[in-house]
Symmetry: D2
Subunit: 275 residues, 4 copies
């Protein structure tokens, strides 16, 4: 492996205290855990509004939803694009939930920045350096997912591309790495939490939905993430997972999500945090 230059802006040596980010009044970090929830894809106004209300009632404080979707096949549903962004904005205003949505193309960054509160860089773009530089010049927080084969060292180096352009509001998101195991969609690497916390002041949240790929295991891994010291969770929730345009098998129904939120609170308390 090439020897990398040492980390700079993301490192504890440059900034020892933990980063805290405020997203329209939602504080993330130093004991304040965030739960981002919502559908994989924005599919329509009713779907989004009902899901948003349900996840808010259960305690989620950020709404997630994809408008531009990175899909393995060009023949799969590619997202509602700008129409999806508008729906996200409408639902955000109606519910008061800030939103997070993905940007894939540097050319769309401006557009998405206008609509969203947090910009997500997906796993496939973790080393799309042109895109990282682009969002690094913007103001809103960046959720940077780890890639399927990205070492923690490389992931932190990708955050440097954003930080070095001036945007210091980076939230790392572990979402599973690719291994030989196929009982789960990916292998959720929860040890990334203590490793990142040791080396960096950046926030780190966990996406158990992509990590395991089956809703049955999301519950257990969400609890583990909270106990391990994550700064938050990102969870896929859908009213009718069997009809979802994407990632149905890993989406929780709203009542299961609500039950999970109940069960997470005492664990968070046990590790000195609040959800």
């Amino acid at each position: 492996m090439p020897i990398l230059k040492p980390y700079k802006l993301c490192s504890r040596e440059v900034k020892s205290e933990d980063t805290v980010i405020d997203v329209k009044g939602v504080k993330i970090g130093r004991g304040h855990m965030v739960v981002m929830a919502g559908p994989c894809s924005v599919e329509g106004k009713d779907q989004l509004m009902e899901t948003a209300k349900a996840v808010k009632a259960a305690g989620a404080t950020i709404l997630r939803g994809g408008a531009f979707k990175p899909r393995t096949s060009p023949y799969s549903f590619q997202g509602m694009e700008e129409e999806g962004l508008k729906l996200l904005k409408d639902v955000s205003e109606a519910t008061g939930l800030p939103i997070v949505t993905e940007v894939m193309n540097p050319r769309d960054a401006e557009l998405i920045h206008r609509y969203t509160d947090i910009m997500q860089i997906g796993a496939r773009n973790v080393q799309n350096f042109s895109l990282l530089r682009e969002v690094g010049k913007m103001e809103k927080p960046i959720l940077l997912k780890r890639g399927l084969a990205t070492t923690i060292e490389e992931w932190l180096m990708s955050s440097e591309y954003i930080l070095s352009e001036g945007n210091n509001k980076v939230i790392l998101c572990e979402r599973g790495i690719r291994t030989f195991e196929n009982a789960t969609r990916n292998t959720l690497d929860l040890s990334a939490i203590p490793v990142v916390k040791e080396k960096s002041h950046l926030l780190i949240i966990i996406d158990p939905s992509h990590g395991v790929g089956y809703w049955q295991y999301v519950d257990s891994m969400s609890k583990a993430a909270v106990a391990a010291g994550a700064d938050g969770l990102m969870i896929e929730v859908h009213w009718k997972p069997e009809e979802a345009f994407s990632d149905g098998p890993q989406s929780l129904k709203p009542h299961k999500f609500a039950k999970l939120m109940e069960e997470l609170r005492p664990i968070a308390k046990a590790v000195g945090r609040s959800i």
Copy 2:
């Protein structure tokens, strides 16, 4: 991958309720978490006795220690062998802690069975089918570690080798799989907990020490394992990790272990379990 015959004896279909094992009065399963702790290798009487007393005082209920050590190099310390077994027995009697130790050779199985309370099959022997059959004919519980590249399906099939010989006291132990990430020694696959619990009635515990390879991360992963629903933990503890004959970097000092045990209790309680 070859299509396997369906699981039989380890499966929920054959036996729906969770397995419970009693090791000299120490109950494991259905809410009773076990903590097995001690040094990687048995190195001498004082080392073992002092460590045993310390881990017992902190709340561990089983003593671990290797007498026959599987080492990558034939030129590394290979364990104290039978002398080590005797020390384990002595310390067990003095402290009242049952012991767990590894068996590597079918020819030594009888010998080790005489001394120990739980027989451990190490990661490298998870598909040593001759050894699995051998311990399957014995009475004492078997701790079956997952191999570095063993799928959960294969691991459960290895348990079938033991169960089909008549020994139904199998404890699975996840201890990290091998991936591309090298910030940790292995990648601890905590999602194995819900996957195993769904498919099997067998107990599953977590070895975070081997999973991460550095003591700094053991704390976080132990908490995660408890929250995720593991039936127990196996943790390496050493008085002077820097002088340990093996695995020093991943061993906790006794006072750190004691602090961890304190912190684990409220998490266990939050998920309806006791340590």
Copy 3:
């Protein structure tokens, strides 16, 4: 893993005969092997010109060289950018060698398309779908590297993004996948050759330099690739590897490259091909 829609345009079912591509008179496919060689990065006029002459003399028919470099760290050398493109063009005109160089940003695609003969999509961008669509609208051939954790199925699906936009001149390039092994930089998956040839009519070449990461092993893997049925090779060559701005350890010196070319010819002949 998500169930993908079946391949369309890349598949043997749609087009049974092998693809052949003509790059300024250099035929690739159906027995005509191509060797693309040159430095990892364009570093200056003399370096490039001397290397180009040397690789041409040895039998290479395409010149490689990076002007826009994807680097893990933002603090590493990022390439000479447009100045580098101009040097490539000059050297191409002087030597008659067509060139291949990487495009990373959709916004730069037009610029690079003006200068180069083949556009390379690097491993990190194999699922940068915006970029794939962009180059899919262009005329020149696309060299599509496999990602570090990309399955062959996903890689072929990425080629569909290009093909479905109208550009049917895709050359796949295997350059190693990421595994646990660290004696080599990556693990070169030569079995990708027969797998791709079975499923697809597209060309596939091998980049042993990135695959193994050390010049000592490039020789052996180049021979293996030819014998296995690859349509070509991409090899890094540098006059002074110890002073290279990037990837020095995996670069061959010109005289070693010339010797390798000599040794490849009888192997190519033995499998009914010519270099």
Copy 4:
């Protein structure tokens, strides 16, 4: 990863010239390539005899066949055991082909040593150190397969267990490592050839059948192995692959094997070797 003591007996520093092994007159090493071929499992006398004659006629010089079979499930066919050994012996005497067969249990080592000419240690037992020591005390050559998650460094260290007991006739066999790719059963790591050749004087052969898992790809990878400098091949051949007790999908029919042998000869010649 633990820092290992340096290699001793397997290293080039201790013995610079390549090892050569003579198996009943079959020379392996220094230009003499060996082809070991035969069925995965010994299934009966006729099957074995006919296959042996066919592979001999095609040019194979060692007969392979499993009598003790390591199977993931205890409910799968486990081999004909001693009866299988007898059949191997009979067929060996009738055809003049020396044989190679697997040993799994230290207790069976004596028995198998009596019947076979080369003792095989399978991938699952590459770090079964008790077994390695056992065969290290014996006289016949040992074929040591690489494990699914064994680094080359660990593999060489396993060879040290054999060498340090006095048996210096070790043949390493690469048979694929476990990765995320599932178009092939395993990922055949042909770069192990130059890496092993650089560090060690031991012989290394390739098992493309297990490496790829489908007969369609065995041809291409066999050619690649020869070109890359392997000292030999181990190939599964079966008269009726669709009826094989194990590994049918990766077995070549005799006429395909014969055709492959024809095609390998000019490649071997091109790299200065003979088959």
